[in-house]
Symmetry: none
Amino acid sequence: MTGEHIWIYDTTLRDGAQREGLALSLEDKLQIAHLLDQLGVPFIEGGWPGANPKDVQFFWQLQQEPLTQARLVAFCSTRRPRTTAAEDTLLQGILAAGTPWVTVFGKSWDLQVTEGLGTTLTQNLDMIADTLTYLRSQHRHVLYDAEHWFDGYQANPEYALATLETAHNAGAEWLVLCDTNGGTLPHQIIHIVQQVKTRFPQAQIGIHTHNDSGTAVANALAAVQSGARMVQGTINGYGERCGNANLCTVIPSLQLKLQYNCITSAQLARLVEVSRAVSERVNLAPDDHAPYVGLSAFAHKGGVHVSAVGKNPLTYEHIAPEQVGNQRRVVISEHSGLSNVITKAQELGFTLERSHPATREVLQRLKDLEEQGYQFEAAEASFELLVREVLGQRRPAFVLHGFQVHCQTQARGEGHWSSSVATIKVAVEGQELLTAAEGNGPVSALDRALRRALENFYPQVREFHLSDYKVRVLDGQSGAAAMTRVLVEFTHGAHRWTTVGVSPNIIEASYQAVAEGLEYGLAHCQPVPLSPGVG
Amino acid sequence: MTGEHIWIYDTTLRDGAQREGLALSLEDKLQIAHLLDQLGVPFIEGGWPGANPKDVQFFWQLQQEPLTQARLVAFCSTRRPRTTAAEDTLLQGILAAGTPWVTVFGKSWDLQVTEGLGTTLTQNLDMIADTLTYLRSQHRHVLYDAEHWFDGYQANPEYALATLETAHNAGAEWLVLCDTNGGTLPHQIIHIVQQVKTRFPQAQIGIHTHNDSGTAVANALAAVQSGARMVQGTINGYGERCGNANLCTVIPSLQLKLQYNCITSAQLARLVEVSRAVSERVNLAPDDHAPYVGLSAFAHKGGVHVSAVGKNPLTYEHIAPEQVGNQRRVVISEHSGLSNVITKAQELGFTLERSHPATREVLQRLKDLEEQGYQFEAAEASFELLVREVLGQRRPAFVLHGFQVHCQTQARGEGHWSSSVATIKVAVEGQELLTAAEGNGPVSALDRALRRALENFYPQVREFHLSDYKVRVLDGQSGAAAMTRVLVEFTHGAHRWTTVGVSPNIIEASYQAVAEGLEYGLAHCQPVPLSPGVG
């Protein structure tokens, strides 16, 4: 029923951290917890204290600087087979974390009980009952995560239901149905959640899905539509194997399409910011094609789309991008027409009139350059320099006279030894400069030689970071003698920009892209104030 | 109903190419078409000839070297408003493409007709009828893509149904329901597909979904479960904005979970190979977390999971990874690695015993090199050379002593001038040789200098064609100073092989790959007989 509240439960800090290649420091965890709190997520699972020393410290730190509104949750398993809950040291670790809320996961699948835990089906029920009763006696609110719920239910529904009933009777406030292996499809979710709802009409049901079948989000939505009132997931869908349900997709779908309430509209408008801040924090490239929050989620390429969206955004956009803090982008590509050029230039702050000759010249130069192999859709900074040039507003900070690059390698057998040296001659503010530098390879040598020429005039170049470098050979047929396209990304604090260079010679193509990148950076970034001693 | 056939329709080459940052050359398109054909995809949409010159050439080339089993499909819109189908030049372009199958897309949504096309609702019906009737009169099979179907149906169901009815009566063999903006959720798909099925019980229904709500795959499955018998999608889910339905997810879900038939089991076991070959071809990093085909899709991190999977894979795997050509990866154990090495070596004709020290040494070297950034999945020729080396069977045709590369560029303003010269010192059959060559850039100069040293001894190197060259920077954080991986592809007649080189210096990485490529070619290709005059 629409209008109802759906409780969002974030497990980025625990299940998300299971993603291959993702490692969270204590500082990362604290920062992300505060971001989630600001986003309005009501439950934040922080980790498994006791099992992980870093998590102990995390919970302790958050006792010192508590979250403003979110409930912080500690996660743990049911007690071990041959002990009691009160004597289980792992559970003592949970109590020490000091959170009013605790999530306990237990086995639902008979196979997992006998083969995984190596205990009996009855013992498993005792473990659930004993653990929950003990935690309740210590005044903890308990959520119960029914691990492998859907596989378990399909294998042995009566036993699976008995585990849930045990948890329910022992005082679990939420029964969370987990698709641990991610193999379940939406129609199965709907059927099984309905069965659970019928069996436990008074219980609050949650859903926890994984993306191994590519349906984690759809499974979460299907569960809500069948009666679940909590969704567990992670920011950007991080998680083991193929990841967890992506909360950056689940939340807007629930709220904007199914009219449930999760967070406020103002919080929802911060979704893109949170998604990108988290990916930056964990040092993973953001997924530009992610639903709702990706850089390309509202990007329009074809000329027909662009002009239609200009007239009525509904024609090619399923929601208004601002609702999630995203924005419409027009992509410049070989399919572009005048509309794309005008709209794109507008985004960059230039007003081009459709009838003005300069507008046509921009388009013509764009098409000529694309014919040669340039590609501007990923190189907006180069596009901006082109527009400035046509409008007579380009003021290059330096002019190249020429460069030389010398690479030398002596083979392994005779003692491996290698060097790359670049010499460059440029004019900077009327002065001719000849500088040289060494690098790990020809491109870094050239980059350093150019910066060396510039940095006495523009100390801020030291802050520009060459953060990505991509090469594509354009005509597969002629291999190394074909045209080479280089894309270079620079960063300066939170600002990123990309430039492009094309040449048969990879060094020249790289130079073009690096030089435009530095030029763009100098045109946009404030100079670093010189220290009094120097000034 | 299970057991039924579902027709897969691939649009990677048309809709997939709308992805921001993806640009396909003619050669890319041809290669991908052949890969899809081998995968057993029955319909391959090649592009919109007439609207795009590159696509004209693509269809012409495939008339010369046809696909073995797939139906190649040309794509176009209905005729333009104020003309007739027979006089519309765009439709003549479609006929010239010479494909027996054509997909025509038309407007279903009243808003799109009046605001987008700027014509009347009746005119739009005429355009659909006229276009399809004309193409049928030219003996083409026609698929009808109902653009914006779900938005159109929700806005004005009677008009939307009238467009479908028009297409159906005009001879469309498939009515394909498109969620063009990707905003529809599975429960809406189910409802609407059922309505269409009821209205057109004899028609064959298809589904085309986009991922803007994160449910493209679930939407496609829901449509099939409601009666659709064709699924349109792309390899790796490439496509505009957030992408299309990912066929690498849809196909295994339909086939392994819902028991429909799409392709043979042997073809399905090549899914990972095709997914990775396409991403390599378009030079986009593969999504390691993609369902079924991702590198991490069956990766087990925790010790508990590993031992449970060892006992019974069902405990943490939703399907057997081999069914899609993937493999279980156990991050902490080297046993799975050993199996990989043995299996791969076997494919190349080497018998490695599990207990033999050489087998372990291959694995150790592989792990060390992968640690440095090498990747052998796409570079089997380099893997073979590594196996030969460990087995004492590597007989390099030449030994490098060293090289120098010198590039010089004089800037545009003073007359653009550029040169690249390489000098190389190698030992070939005991003789020391010093050769030099010029090239369009440093890599081609080096390639030529090396060939110059070799060709008096091995004239067949003249036949080795450097057909592709790709560069990827491995650590985005440190930019041009990071490790650089170069993949080089050589061809000799129908034979193709790929080698890999890694270094912080792009020239060195390139040299490694080129040198291994020539060495591999010399080990595998028969010498060209010398002409009598020379012999």
